[in-house]
């Protein structure tokens, strides 16, 4: 008995219908996703690097700002103390100014009062001088009156030796002179009494 060898399988595409492709295995899916994972990894790394740089930059800037803020706070505190001192000096200066202006007003008033007294004294001296001058004139007039009356008395003691009309005229003249002297004296007394 003889056996026939099995026939070789026909080449693909000839005769037999094509067999269906096997479903893609896990290895192919991994190969397809790897570029995306790589890209995502790179993106993540870039993002992480950026965030790290940003964080350090913000930290550095924040420290610098904090330093600036502390400097300015110290400066503000120093200025505040200076302001308090200056305000105290200003208050003292205002007090001194008020004292000075008050003193100026007092001195101005004292000067005015002294000026008034000076003028009043000068006017009083002028008045006294006028009164003295008038008194001297009155005294002279009264003296002339007395002299004339003495002269008249002498004439009257020896009346026969003189003309009666002349004696009468002289008597009248003496009377007028004494009246004027009396009037001047009365005026002077009135002025002194006022």
């Amino acid at each position: 008995m003889t056996t026939t060898p099995p026939a070789p399988p026909p080449p693909d595409g000839y005769g037999a219908p094509p067999a269906p492709l096997p479903p893609p295995g896990p290895g192919r899916r991994r190969a397809g996703a790897s570029p995306w994972l790589a890209a995502a990894l790179i993106l993540t790394l870039v993002l992480a690097g950026y965030l790290w740089v940003t964080t350090t930059q913000w930290q550095r800037t924040a420290q610098e700002w904090e330093g600036e803020a502390r400097d300015h706070a110290a400066e503000a505190a120093a200025l505040g103390r200076q302001l308090d001192g200056v305000n105290a000096e200003l208050a003292a200066a205002r007090d001194q100014l008020a004292t000075a202006t008050g003193r100026i007003s007092e001195l101005a008033n004292e000067k005015a009062q002294l000026g008034d007294e000076n003028v009043a004294s000068r006017q009083h001296l002028d008045y006294q001088a006028r009164v003295s001058e008038a008194a001297a004139k009155v005294a002279v007039a009264l003296g002339q009156c007395v002299d004339a009356q003495e002269q008249l008395i002498g004439y009257l003691e020896d009346a026969d030796a003189y003309d009666a009309a002349d004696l009468t005229r002289f008597k009248n003249q003496v009377g007028e002179l004494c009246d004027k002297a009396g009037d001047a004296n009365d005026a002077l007394q009135q002025e002194l009494a006022s």
Partner: protein, 246 residues
């Protein structure tokens, strides 16, 4: 189909990255070397500084003058106030029967007096000076109304410069017949020597000139309308004749 899906995924990734950049914090600006305020607040002058002059006296005090009338037989004093650099106003009776007028300022400076002229229709006088007067106020446009505040600055009794306050009570016919028309009555206290003082409103404007006081201790003012009318009339004032010693 697969290529299209890849493109869509790439586009989504780029879009995600792009939108993510907007969310990511930006790098900080460098700290400037010099920090200046972005806005300087308006500084206001210190309280009370607006009325202070270089020498510490306010304008109300600086405009007032003391008038000494050296008559031939007697001495009297009055007040006055500047209306410009070389002119002051006082009362007619303050400068009457004068041999010599002497004017001094709030700080005691003597002002050289030129001429004096008096008004016929009011108890007012104008004195021209050769020296400049320290300060002069603004004259009010209208007379004050009843109840308005009034401040009188002058030299009552020939003493220190004094400021007294009160209110306008009203107006009346001049009981002294020294002024034509109505005069103002205020309850601000005045004394002999206050004559010629300026009466000011609450804005420091002259509203009248003190010329007398009543038996009730009220003060009488020549209203500013009369002052303005007379100042505008060049013929309203005549030069004062000096007295002759008796």
């Amino acid at each position: 189909m697969r290529r299209g899906g890849r493109l869509a995924a790439l586009a989504a990734l780029v879009a995600l990255a792009g939108s993510g950049c907007g969310v990511l914090p930006a790098l900080p600006e460098p700290v400037p070397n010099e920090i200046v305020p972005s806005r300087v607040s308006d500084l206001e002058p210190a309280e009370g500084s607006e009325t202070i002059s270089p020498d510490g006296f306010d304008a109300v005090q600086r405009m007032a003058v003391r008038v000494r009338n050296v008559g031939c037989d007697e001495l009297s004093t009055g007040s006055g106030f500047a209306v410009d650099e070389y002119t002051l106003i006082t009362n007619k009776h303050v400068v009457a029967d004068s041999d010599n007028l002497q004017v001094s300022t709030y700080d005691g400076r003597d002002i050289d007096v030129g001429t004096a002229a008096t008004a016929a229709l009011a108890d007012l006088a104008i004195v021209r000076t050769r020296d400049a007067l320290p300060s002069y106020p603004v004259l009010a446009e209208t007379d004050p109304r009843q109840g308005d505040d009034v401040t009188i600055v002058g030299y009552p009794s020939g003493g220190e410069l004094t400021i007294s306050a009160g209110r306008v009570i009203g107006s009346t016919r001049d009981p002294l017949n020294a002024n034509l028309g109505e005069v103002l009555v205020t309850d601000a206290k005045v004394e002999p020597g206050s004559s010629g003082s300026a009466a000011l409103d609450d804005q420091g404007r002259v509203i009248g000139v003190v010329y007398a006081k009543t038996a009730d201790d009220d003060s009488l003012l020549v209203p500013i309308s009369t002052v303005r009318d007379l100042l505008a009339d060049a013929t309203a004032f005549e030069n004062v004749a000096t007295c002759e010693a008796s």
